[in-house]
Symmetry: D2
Subunit: 323 residues, 4 copies
């Protein structure tokens, strides 16, 4: 009315005719500005700010991202300096390393029942699949690597006590596949923490190995390291692909610190109403001091495998424009 | 291995560097082929087949699509001959017509409580908003249109008995806004069925009008018309944006017919486990004869406002390639 | 601690040993007071208040409630004066009437594919089923009823113009099955509005009938009636079983009124983030004036068929205590 | 028709009048037999079979169960011999131990923003809360216990290498609160595995302690132990409260074994379509050999805090009937 300045603006309908790149799609999402598209655009804006302002970016990696086709996006994010610390489920590093050692994830498998798949030695991950043979490739390659690490780093009592971030670094060093995110992280000197390493096939392989070679996990070493990374950085941002251990482990790195994350983005389909941390709102983290009321935050409710490529492409375009 | 033909293939990680258009993104989704991206690509493939094979496409429009920025995509789909029959909730046509008559949906409204919004006469739709003033614009424009339709089509007893598809056609004729999907449908001679018209502000406006001018809904006329459209076409496809009445009404158009839909695509976040039709699997529709085991079908579990632009852009690119 | 008054209290762990009735389970839920149990207890408290304070209760009935075993609970709610106005999807009244006329919903059907079900003339609703034979029973019984209603209420031009609430009342009068909620509503003089009647098999049967006997829907008559019911009552409460048309139709009954619902309860699994009304928060309705900041409200995120029996039993126990 | 035996049966509407106990409610759910109630009844039936047939029951504990009021149900399940192996998130044991040491979870906290909660040193878990003071109580009590364990079990190099199951056993021994499930597990000699112990406040406290007292996690010891438990038992069942690490860790205990779980029940709200293990169907586990086509399995899609008490009460009633 009259001279009162209106701060709100119109929801501009998304116009595909104006779009010839993903970057322009994000612009359309931004001008629409509501619902899912608005949140994706906001995620791109926040992520771009994180990078422009030199924040240390903590990436949480949960869910079946490698079987879901996200391996190269993760690797590219690392190579383009969009990630500085990784916390992963055991499964995601296992799946990455399986592919690095010649195994693969497959699709379009015809089957009548999961029992039939078992007979054919094919393991199912929703509509992706992995053959037992790929796990054998993992075993063939990882056991000698474990041996080499053990020989090199065991102590005087013939015991290897190793943090998961060191273990993944040493494995990354041995991987030749340039599309591996474990390799890319090694090259970029980015730590990968796997707090529940034993909860994966990589962990089971380590257990097999440990039957003859005593191996202990220096979980406290990991904890000290990530808290330093979270506490020493001037600015920090969290990007959560799913919830689970990676989300909690990244967030708790600020619990014993006066600082909090300056930025937080999460992509999840989990619900807030069950009270579990995986689906918890980012606002809730303010009450814990993990973030603050000044933090820039957004939650995108979507399948990660659909929107991560969009967000990555959007941020990449903005970074390159700045260069 | 040896000579055994493998029908399955690798999950190709999505490679954003190879993507400079949405069309190429869909290609990447297709080569990945699993989870959400695989289903989006499949939706594009099925939709493209529908159009190439000349199927009559029935579009179900539910959810807050116009406030969510989908208005122009819907209009463009109509103008590009990708839709031939529409079944809509009352809200979606109401929202389209509000914008056609000068109202708007807005965003970035600062507020502390919904009570504060009420005081400011602003109505909230998640993070989109509409001012009461926009509803007044609707009233100012729609009442004379109702009057004109009534005068022209009333019977000898001074009663207007009108089907919702006729009513929407007459309204579309009066709309000048080229971005209105109700207008575009009128221009393309595409019927818009609104089975629950009375369940909307457009319906409430008709009730206001009917206090002085007797008006009845010829719901049976609509039913006969959509069954003819579903029964007469050689090939038919269904594209469900959300569930609700539009999904059921489109599907039931085949219940009294020996034919079934040859194609079906749905985008929804509703769950299958509650048993409600909105979240029901498309496979279930085979048991009812609404589709058959030969039908090409896919469900995309996602926010419609995120993936509809992707699917539309993907199909559009393929159609133009063919031209 | 000391003299400081603490308004908050402890989350008391749920103690099953103290529970020998559903009423006591609700008490345990109430003393726990958080997450799902807390919300169920709050729903029981609010519903009990509605009844104790003489509010007119509007019940929205969506989803596959009758196939899901909720038929008798709905009927008992009516017979125990816990409901005064009903708005239903076409499917729920269709399913109720099918059972009233000798049809049934079945379970534990073994099948390998939905195509096999089609061959056996069995229609699937998630893991419930209905045989085509049951629909034939519906046809056999409903056609003569339609004829009788038509003959009795047609006008001088041999046209029946009927509101859905009148139609359901006349059908209820003809039903003998005491477990039918359509019958119970008739006996209690409770109107059942079915705004999308044509979107159901009951509607398709009416279409069949209308081929020889002109029939129009007086949707405006329904709108006037429900607005009077919503506007005339001193206090009003809304209880939404699912979303869809029933939720919106009940809520919009206050749009043209200065009053709003004093109580609102919804049970849904739909998500808030898509922006659709089905999953919309009840708080949002304050901005529309459908409720107010003084209204007592709660959303239970759950499968209706699990928690409706709990809520009903809890409220019933409280009402009986009062008697 | 005629002599053909029909194996399917009627969906019996749930009749609350026939219900005077939770046991009878489960009977009603069983006779309804579809949707959520049918699955809850099936879960009770399967769980009862597990126990009657002497299966070793592996319980996965994820989500905010203790803040959500489930602490006593978990403890009672242990004390009633319904659980034999536990795999927990770090949070659930942390929350249990907080309450054991005098801390508490609270509700009905009035607040305007999460920032206000932070100022008041109150941490939010959806609509439950915990004061910083409760965490201080944990610190006060756990540090001396860590010291005692360390002194008693450290090796000759002044290093404590301990499995999480041993650590939790030693902590359980020190707890006096009979309502603690960590205590109950100790008394019943039931191991609690916490594969991601470092991902919790209990883990952060151990890190604090380890700054002066070298402490390593024998994660391989845990892995060997759970695989023995899974491999040695004649029959095994899995009961998953939520997904995350506990679900995967229990399931993978069969990966290197020719045996599979004979029973599996999961309660979750996570979706299957994202491909993540948390929401994965139990059928999928057959392809991995974690279960087999002969396993009895059911998934309940619900808030754990609502349905776990129902399932527990139902199973308890059946066990007592047998006694």
């Amino acid at each position: 009315m009259n001279h009162k300045k209106k701060v709100h603006s119109r929801v501009n309908p998304i116009d595909i005719e104006k779009v010839s790149s993903i970057d322009e799609l994000i612009d359309q999402f931004d001008q629409s500005g509501v619902f899912g598209p608005g949140r994706i655009a906001k995620a791109v804006n926040i992520y771009s700010s994180m990078i422009e302002e030199g924040a240390t970016v903590f990436l949480g990696v949960a869910g079946a991202l490698v079987p879901g086709g996200m391996r190269k996006v993760l690797t590219d994010m690392i190579r383009n300096d969009m990630v500085h610390v990784i916390v992963s489920t055991g499964a995601n590093v296992t799946h990455d390393i399986i592919e690095a050692f010649g195994g693969q994830h497959i699709k379009q498998v015809s089957y009548h029942s999961d029992a039939e798949l078992r007979e054919k030695s094919i393991d199912r991950i929703y509509d992706a699949f992995v053959e037992d043979d790929s796990f054998m490739k993992l075993e063939d390659h990882i056991q000698p690597i474990y041996k080499e690490i053990w020989e090199k780093h065991k102590d005087s009592t013939n015991t290897l006590a190793i943090s998961t971030s060191d273990l993944l670094k040493f494995i990354g060093e041995k991987i030749e596949d340039p599309n591996s995110f474990v390799r890319a992280a090694y090259e970029k000197n980015i730590p990968i923490f796997v707090p529940a390493l034993s909860d994966s096939v990589l962990g089971l392989q380590l257990w097999l190995f440990s039957q003859m070679n005593r191996t202990l996990i220096d979980a406290m070493g990991d904890l000290g390291k990530i808290q330093s990374l979270a506490g020493d950085a001037d600015k920090t941002g969290a990007f959560f692909l799913g919830g689970g251990v990676p989300k909690n482990y990244i967030f708790q790195s600020k619990l014993m610190s006066p600082k909090s994350f300056d930025y937080a983005i999460q992509i999840t389909m989990d619900r807030v109403e069950t009270g579990g941390l995986s689906g918890a709102s980012l606002e809730e983290s303010i009450s814990w001091g993990k973030t603050s009321s000044k933090s820039k935050m957004v939650t995108v409710v979507a399948d990660i495998t659909i929107v991560l490529p969009l967000i990555y492409a959007g941020v990449l375009a903005r970074i390159k424009q700045v260069d």
